[in-house]
């Protein structure tokens, strides 16, 4: 098989011959038929839409043993005794070495050691297994087992809790379950960094793991335990632990799936995302995550936890695809796991966590390495009695400036370590000096300019009135600097159709003044003084203006609009005012008026599925490129609110927002009554959210690797500087890393993200996020510390970029191939030998396939003529700026059963798997993916519930015509459901409009699209099919 690079890498540039076969069919509308090609027995695929796996050669293979068995429990206990496990006669040396070895290697072994109390975790069991040499339990053989899998119900929350449903002892009962603690491996305390005393002491070999935890260096033990969640995966048919392959049995807890299982596969038997989430929440939820250890894997994004910054940036700011980088490029190439970090520099910090400290180094500015210009951070090594320090990124030895000198303590640490955020924390801010400002002048506070399309559509729909009304109150809540009395942000107003109207709202005026600019060919700002004003000062004039705008244009019959000149006007205004800022553009239609940036309707669905499909995603050439440059240079962020009734060419119109850190909102067929509230809450949130302007971000890394590619709502002028006209709390940049050289396990991989920006108060600051990762020459380490959610974020973004240049088919093929490669590599180098028919997944990635499959089914990638071109482009832009949390829920929506909820409890009911099978006719479900929210009403749902929620006697009384709304009623059910909805909404970047769908209604189709485990409505395989397909690919790769 050809060697695939990471998704983002070359592969995109051309289709790989190797994959051709597969690709042909995968993901295309009628997937089944294509599957046939692969599987020898075509019928296998085609026939059963769900769960049936009928792999070719599989006949012989046994069923997956039902992993969890009562025995399992037993196992666990045994685990306590893991010490034994070490000895196992594993071929690979490493396992043994741990103790004697340098810390990091040591960690392999010890790492897993949970604190005594928690040791129970099955990982141990896994080890045991390994130790016991049960490795090759080939389930497959046991043909008998065919029946087994079904029993696996979703395992109970706790890992161990696997119900013993499994049929009687399959051969592997014991092993099956054990999910692999792989995860735990990752936890290991890196010896380095602050953690201080590394030494896994030779001393206590005997103690084995238990001893380890006690070591001073491993404070994390607590949290880690939580991580061990691994087990739950309980992949039903987990093949026995491959422990054999692994030294020490750290198999990285692969979830294994018997490849060629029997005819019927129970859907419950395949790894469940909800289960993984629940387990992680159970293990690590509500705990404090202390970031003092290099390379520790943070809890899942879905888990509630509190971060305590002790030297590494919070995972809210930076999250990596793996917390243990391979030491060499070869290794990286071999495993194909992308090395990337998702950076959300302005991520919202919960109230119970400490906000970033601000460091002021006075006139000299922040202390930086002379050579690589990295900023002072906890990883810098002070030497020579504190007179000099060695840069951790480039190894340059720098003098410590006199005023910064401090003595070192006996440990070689500065005495003022804990007084200085930049020496003890992962994230902090520096006050920037004039050297960091444009033209060496302190920046002015930013400005928000509201640019309202007042063409016929917007007037008629009542939107203009709505906006004007809202602005009157909303502007009072502009974000302000901590402690500031009022917001320093200036505001300005523009209305436009074919021409632009600027408003002078100087406080001294009795009446606002309108200035019309009709020279759209060469846009300019007609006034300076009075255009951008302080809202408080000019409130009277502004209110006057906002009152008049709807009336002034009430009789308009102008339906053409311009767009590029509007942005141009905003940029020019900011340029004239010498400040950065944000444009809020409320546009109704595709700009067809004669002006630069005029667009034509090029919505051609015939291109779907052809080589030219990519052109649908490419912006129309022209002024927009230059406009983007201008915007970025001026620090002008563009937020676009679209209210289209037809094609508006979002691919082009979104081009500027998507490169300036802006957001795009779309309200198709806008009606005030229907979308008004959603729009207003989006607008409010957008105006109020925390944001930095005119930002430039640089990611510095230690030697041996470097950031090579960046994805997000950003602009790159060169290969290293990430320019963002603005960056707000929802924007994430995904950064890919590549090896330059060999990394050493000892020093690990450090990275520093420095973001220079202007605050809303007009201060220039540097926000620094530091993160240290482990390095390992062992692939298992890498697989253990993978982060599925981060991985999928990376894949989504890189694929979405790739579709600009490559046929979708190729992109999809590459995604699937890389998935297969990653898993195959794991199988080959990390899992214990087992029958080829077994599907073995790394524990940390066991739900990766469901996400990948979901990604392949997203509108942008699925390639269906039924989807609107705008929607696809819109989706592409959305994802491009998303952080891990957003992509996670987008690709695996939450499906919350409401009919069974406990109205007295505060908690949100546990979501169920996103599949039609989980719906019940008598139920009510809430589905949300961060963009949409549905309330699904089963046909037979209890009337009393309907009465409580809708105040109508039965489902039949709910009209299917027109939009339904959920009234606020005074009863427990209604209150509860509204509280659930609002608590969900609060977490999301965009507000979601609640769509109520009744089972079997036409609108149900919309809802069903989001059941990602099922076969896609517009094409795309079901989870089960996909898994089987991937398995086949893996097997091909392995042979």
């Amino acid at each position: 098989m050809s060697q695939q690079g990471y998704v983002a890498t070359p592969p995109y540039s051309q289709a790989q011959a190797g994959m051709g076969g597969y690709s042909a069919g995968f993901g295309n509308p009628p997937p089944q038929s294509h599957y046939g090609v692969y599987g020898s027995p075509p019928q296998g695929y085609s026939a059963p839409p769900t769960g049936v796996l009928k792999p070719p050669a599989s006949s012989s293979s046994g069923m997956p043993p039902p992993p969890v068995s009562s025995q399992y429990g037993a196992n666990i206990q045994q685990n306590g005794a893991h010490p034994h496990s070490f000895p196992p006669p594993v071929a690979s040396a490493p396992s043994m070495s741990p103790y004697g070895q340098p810390p990091q290697s040591a960690f392999h072994s010890m790492a897993q050691a949970p604190p005594p109390t928690q040791q129970l975790t099955n990982q141990m069991s896994a080890m045991n297994i390994g130790g016991y040499g049960q490795r090759p339990m080939q389930i497959p053989q046991s043909s008998s087992s065919s029946a087994a899998p079904q029993q696996f119900q979703t395992s109970p929350p706790t890992a161990m809790g696997h119900p013993p449903l499994s049929p009687p002892g399959q051969q592997l009962p014991s092993l099956g379950s054990p999910p692999p603690m792989a995860t735990m491996g990752s936890v290991t305390a890196p010896p380095m960094g602050m953690s201080g005393p590394p030494g896994p002491g030779v001393h206590q070999p005997p103690l084995g793991p238990q001893g380890y935890p006690q070591q001073p260096g491993s404070p994390m033990s607590g949290p880690y335990g939580a991580q061990m969640a691994g087990p739950q995966m309980a992949g039903p048919q987990m093949a026995g632990p491959q422990s054999g392959a692994f030294p020490g049995g750290f198999p990285g807890g692969p979830a294994q799936m018997a490849g060629p299982p029997q005819k019927k596969l129970d859907p419950d038997s395949i790894p469940s995302t909800t289960q993984v989430i629940e387990d992680d929440q159970a293990k690590r939820g509500g705990q404090v995550y202390v970031t003092n250890i290099r390379g520790q894997v943070p809890p899942l994004v879905t888990t509630d936890f509190t971060v305590q910054d002790q030297g590494n940036a919070s995972p809210r700011f930076m999250r990596c695809t793996t917390y243990s980088f391979p030491c060499t490029a070869d290794l990286a190439k071999q495993c194909k796991v992308p090395l990337a970090a998702i950076i959300k520099p302005f991520a919202t910090v919960p109230k119970n966590e400490t906000p970033l400290y601000i460091v002021n180094h006075g006139e000299t500015g922040p202390i930086r390495c002379n050579r690589c210009k990295a900023y002072m951070c906890p990883y810098m090594q002070f030497i020579d009695g504190g007179r000099r320090y060695q840069c951790v990124f480039c190894s340059c030895v720098n003098e410590v400036p006199v005023q910064y000198f401090q003595h070192l303590d006996h440990m070689g640490r500065r005495m003022d370590l804990y007084e200085r955020p930049e020496l003890s924390l992962g994230s902090y801010e520096f006050i920037a000096t004039l050297d960091y400002c444009k033209n060496n002048k302190p920046p002015n506070p930013p400005a928000y300019i509201f640019m309202i399309d007042v063409s016929y559509n917007n007037i008629k729909s009542g939107l203009v009135k709505l906006i004007c009304e809202e602005l009157k109150t909303m502007l009072d809540r502009l974000p302000k600097e901590e402690g500031a009395e009022t917001s320093a942000i200036k505001v300005g107003f523009v209305t436009y159709n074919k021409i632009l109207h600027f408003y002078n709202v100087k406080s001294a005026l009795a009446q606002p003044q309108m200035m019309v600019v009709s020279d759209v060919a060469e846009m300019f700002v007609p006034l300076l003084d009075g255009f951008l004003v302080n809202f408080q000062e000019s409130q009277a004039v502004i209110n006057n203006l906002l009152d008049q705008i709807p009336d002034m244009f009430a009789d308009t019959n102008e339906s053409e609009t311009v767009f590029a000149p509007v942005i141009q006007a905003g940029v020019e205004a900011l340029k004239a005012a010498e400040c950065s800022g944000k444009l809020f553009i409320f546009q109704s239609s595709i700009p067809t008026a004669e002006a630069p940036g005029k667009l034509k309707n090029r919505d051609d669905r015939k291109l779907v599925g052809t080589e030219k499909e990519k052109t649908l995603f490419q912006p129309q050439r022209g002024v927009y490129e230059q406009l983007t440059k201008d915007c970025v240079a001026q620090g002008c962020c563009v937020d676009l609110f679209l209210f289209p009734n037809q094609f508006v060419d979002i691919a082009t119109m979104g081009d500027v927002p998507s490169h300036t850190g802006g957001s795009i909102y779309k309200y198709s067929n806008f009606q005030v009554e229907v979308n008004g509230q959603q729009f207003l809450s989006d607008l409010r949130r957008d105006v109020e959210k925390s944001i930095g302007f005119d930002a430039i971000m640089r990611v510095r890394t230690g030697t041996g690797f470097r950031a090579t590619d960046f994805f997000g709502a950003i602009y790159m002028n060169n290969t290293t500087d990430v320019e963002m006209a603005a960056v707000d709390c929802d924007k994430a940049v995904t950064v890919e890393f590549k090896h330059d050289d060999t990394l050493s396990e000892e020093s690990g991989a450090v990275m520093q993200c420095a973001l220079l920006y202007t605050t809303i108060g007009g201060q220039r600051r540097l926000r620094i996020h530091n993160l240290s990762l482990n390095c390992s020459s062992q692939l298992p380490e890498l697989y253990k510390s993978c982060e599925t959610d981060a991985l999928i974020n990376f894949f989504a973004k890189s694929a979405y970029r790739a579709i600009l240049n490559q046929p979708l088919k190729t992109v999809r093929e590459i995604l699937v191939n890389q998935t297969a490669h990653m898993l195959a590599c794991y199988r080959k180098s990390c899992a214990s030998p087992s029958a080829a028919s077994q599907l073995i997944l790394p524990d940390a990635m066991k739900v990766f396939p469901v996400y990948m499959n979901s990604l392949l089914k997203t509108p942008a990638l699925v390639g269906s003529t039924e989807l609107s071109t705008d929607d696809r482009a819109f989706h592409r832009f959305l994802v491009n700026a998303m952080g891990v949390e957003e992509t996670q829920v987008l690709l695996y929506p939450r499906l919350i059963p409401l009919h069974t909820m406990d109205v007295s409890s505060e908690a949100i009911p546990a979501p169920v798997r996103c599949s039609e099978e989980r719906l019940s006719e008598s139920g009510i479900f809430l589905l949300e993916n961060g963009l949409y929210m549905f309330l699904w009403l089963g046909q037979a749902c209890p009337p009393d519930l309907i009465q409580n929620l809708f105040n109508v006697p039965s489902l039949g009384h709910l009209s299917s015509e027109g939009p339904m709304s959920l009234p606020v009623l005074d009863n427990a059910h209604s209150r509860k459901i509204h509280s659930i909805i609002s608590s969900i909404s609060q977490r999301r970047a965009a507000s979601m409009k609640l769509l109520i769908v009744k089972q079997k209604d036409r609108s149900e189709m919309l809802f069903r699209q989001h059941l990602v485990e099922d076969k896609g409505l517009h094409g795309g395989a079901s989870y089960m099919d996909f898994l089987c397909y991937v398995h086949r690919e893996i097997r091909q790769l392995l042979t």
Binding site: I499, F502, M514, V516, E522, L527, L528
Partner: protein, 766 residues
């Protein structure tokens, strides 16, 4: 007939015409030998309180290429009801409405006293007057405030139905919409981008959407509502406009140190002109530009915005160092021509201490008949009163302004028209009476004068057709008819017709007659206009040389002298003042650029070529009155010898009014004698010139600069530079009769000039 003096006066009073010669030589050669061409000054709208307009259409000669208007000189056969055209001799029958005429019942136009007559004609619906203010906002706060007040005041002076518009400019140009309620609205243009008239109209939303189909004519009939957004009747937008003017702010764009404000005068004017030409072509309209500095950006820019580069001086221009001069001039000329074509005129009110680019922009006013007013600041009474006077009314309570005039000149066969000099543009109307030999703006018999005032005076030059060997027979009369069609300020269309005739005389036999028919005042002005016209395009010294040669030739022709004996030289009374006029003309700012900026020169010339004879003469040779205890005020020689310690002098140069207190008087005044009751007479003496000055100030447009100075005062230079330097530091002791004030100058005195002239005139070699 009385004296020529009386004849001339009478003719001027009746027809507004002053001819250089009141007997015309009968052949071309003779005419050339007379040196001063057969020519006249014509004031088309000369105020004639005694001349009521008639309410019917004029009767035209039926010959297609003649169309002369029935006039007192025509032969009329009352019986046959036929009249013979005195220009082409076509016989025409009277129209039916003249059926009742007889020798005793003649229509006015046949009566000799109606050689000038005015007809009111009905041509289409009356169109209101249009005033479009184009206001510079790059002014000092004080200036802007004063200007705003003046503009607000002016609203009350406009006829209530007049349309008014407002364009303000600085770095950008704003066209204010006046009809809107609530929010005041304006269209904004950038000051650097040249736009075609079509673009301007499109951007202002004046073009109808292409619904009318077919190729949209650029000047398609506009719908009134659209244009009215920017041009509204004063009576309806009075309040609105007052508010807008009240809220007018200084140009808000910051002006860095060492820079001039960016002022987009060029584009502002092009938009103003574009707006009018799109909405009201061929309707009387005044574009009134108020500017406080030079255009510094965009087309028409006169100087860059760097303060370290000074605005061009005559020195720069002579050295060909004026970077923007040619381009800007060309630009404004094109604009002026566009405005002229549509009958719109442009006024320039330029108030600044430095130059404002009048040199480049002057054509806007010169070609369209607009005013140029130059002052130091808008916050001076000079500007305020001048501006007020623009809207002054005549004895009928009507504005002293008329619009969209065309002047057509018809001549009898013996004459052809060489050209005109004045605030007009050629309409390029060729005809049999058009001479190939151009003087001034020639090659046409029709000129457009977009704006006229009662004082507007054109110089018209003619050529005698007949060759020397076929002279015009004696006893005949040559005739000229001036037909001026214009829009009266009360929106009526009117036609004023003036027909004059002069006798032909044989220059050889009747040279004395011709000599005595010489109007030296008119001739001086007519020659001066030729000189000024030349000065616009030629080097100063060349013009002076030309003027000198003409003077010498004239003296040779008409002087009485013995060859080579300067002392024997004599000039007859009818020519005696002419050399002196020429002497002062040579020293005047119209021909001398020394000590004047290019703007000032342009300003002076502008006024010189449009004022009537009296005012023109004042400009050439200022008037000096002397006040003393020894008698009533008397005019005195414009000579340094008139400057005496015990006199008060009042000098009127048209542009300046200087009151000069002699040394002694000044001391007395300083001592405060006028305050003492016993010196009441001194007080009266001091007051006398002030009262006289006030009288002049009342009527003069533009307001002269009023200077009150005394012996040794710095402002005394205005007087000293004008008087004939009969006593200078060079000859102080040689002359010593009177104790006049010596002038420190190397300029020649009149005496020297005359001596030299005599010498040259009598020289046989010349």
């Amino acid at each position: 007939m009385a004296t020529y003096q009386e004849f001339i006066q009478q003719n001027e009073d009746r027809d507004g015409v002053r001819c250089s010669w009141n007997l015309w030589p009968s052949s071309r050669l003779e005419a050339t030998r007379l040196v001063v061409p057969v020519s006249c000054l014509y004031t088309p709208l000369k105020e004639r309180p005694d001349l009521p307009p008639v309410q019917y259409e004029p009767v035209l000669c039926s010959r297609a290429n003649c169309k002369a208007i029935l006039n007192p000189l025509c032969q009329v056969d009352f019986k046959a009801k036929i009249w013979a055209c005195n220009f082409c001799f076509q016989r025409n029958s009277f129209p039916p409405s003249y059926g009742g005429i007889s020798e005793v019942n003649q229509p006015a136009e046949l009566m000799p006293q109606f050689s000038t007559i005015e007809y009111i004609v009905q041509r289409g619906p009356p169109t209101p007057l249009i005033f479009l203010y184009v206001v510079d906002t790059c002014l000092e706060e004080e200036d802007l405030q004063a200007l705003k007040e003046s503009l607000q005041m002016s609203l009350s002076l406009l006829p209530p139905n007049a349309l008014v518009g407002l364009i303000t400019f600085g770095r950008m140009i704003q066209v204010h919409e006046l009809s809107c309620e609530g929010i005041s609205k304006s269209y904004v243009f950038r000051g650097t981008k040249e736009l075609t008239p079509k673009q301007i109209q499109e951007m202002l939303g004046l073009m109808k959407p292409a619904t009318s189909g077919q190729q949209g004519k650029p000047l398609a009939p506009h719908d009134a509502a659209a244009s009215c957004r920017f041009l509204q009747p004063v009576q309806t937008v009075d309040m609105n406009l007052t508010d807008i003017l009240g809220e007018l702010q200084r140009d808000p764009w910051p002006v860095p140190q060492g820079k001039r404000p960016l002022r987009s005068t060029g584009i502002a004017l092009s938009i103003a002109i574009g707006l009018l030409e799109g909405t009201f072509p061929n309707t009387g309209a005044r574009v009134m530009l108020f500017t406080g500095g030079p255009p510094t950006q965009g087309p028409g820019m006169v100087v860059g915005d760097e303060l370290k580069t000074p605005i061009r001086s005559w020195h720069d221009i002579q050295k060909d160092n004026a970077r923007h001069l040619k381009k800007a001039t060309k630009y404004y000329e094109a604009l002026a021509n566009r405005a002229a074509v549509n009958g719109h005129n442009v006024d320039i009110y330029a108030c600044a201490l430095d130059q404002t680019g009048l040199l480049e922009m002057k054509c806007l006013s010169n070609l369209t008949g607009g005013h140029i007013v130059m002052g130091d600041s808008f916050n001076t009474s000079l500007f305020k009163q001048t501006f007020q006077r623009v809207f002054s009314k005549d004895y009928n309570g009507e504005f002293r302004m008329a619009f969209g005039g065309t002047l057509e000149v018809k001549t009898s066969r013996e004459l052809k028209i060489s050209g005109a000099i004045g605030p007009c543009v050629s309409l390029n109307a060729k005809g049999p009476c058009v001479s190939d030999n151009e003087m001034g703006v020639g090659g046409t018999c029709q000129w457009k004068i977009c704006s006229l005032s009662p004082a507007t005076t054109l110089a018209l030059y003619f050529e005698v057709v007949n060759q020397h060997n076929a002279p015009i027979p004696q006893g005949g009369r040559g005739a000229i008819q001036f037909v001026t069609q214009y829009q009266h300020s009360n929106t009526q269309r009117r036609i004023r017709v003036t027909t004059i005739a002069r006798n032909w005389a044989d220059a050889q036999s009747q040279i004395q007659h011709i000599e005595s028919s010489f109007d030296q005042e008119a001739s001086a002005v007519l020659m001066a206009r030729l000189g000024v016209f030349r000065a616009e395009s030629e080097e100063g010294p060349d013009v002076l040389r030309w003027l000198d040669r003409q003077l010498i030739r004239l003296c040779q022709k008409f002087g009485q002298f013995n060859k080579d004996d300067p002392n024997s030289f004599r000039l007859s009374e009818s020519l005696s003042l002419y050399p002196q006029f020429m002497f002062h003309l040579r020293r005047s700012p119209f021909l001398q650029v020394f000590n004047n900026s290019p703007d000032e020169s342009s300003y002076y010339r502008h006024h010189f070529v449009r004022q009537d004879l009296t005012q023109s003469l004042i400009m050439i040779q200022p008037i000096l009155y002397s006040y003393s205890f020894y008698g009533p005020p008397e005019p005195v020689l414009l000579d340094s010898s008139s400057i005496l310690p015990d006199r008060i002098l009042l000098m009127d140069t048209f542009f300046q009014l200087v009151i000069f207190h002699g040394e002694t008087i000044a001391q007395w005044r300083k001592a405060g004698y006028q305050e003492m009751a016993e010196y009441e007479n001194f007080k009266q003496l001091l007051q006398a010139p002030l009262d006289d000055a006030q009288e002049i100030l009342q009527t003069r447009f533009p307001m002269p600069r009023y200077i009150d100075t005394e012996h040794g005062g710095s402002q005394a230079r205005f007087l000293l530079s004008k008087v004939n330097p009969s006593q200078t530091h060079n000859n102080l002791y040689a002359w010593g009769q009177e104790s006049g004030a010596p002038i420190l100058t190397d300029d020649v005195s009149l005496q020297v000039f005359m001596d030299h002239l005599k010498k040259l005139a009598v020289s046989s070699s010349a």
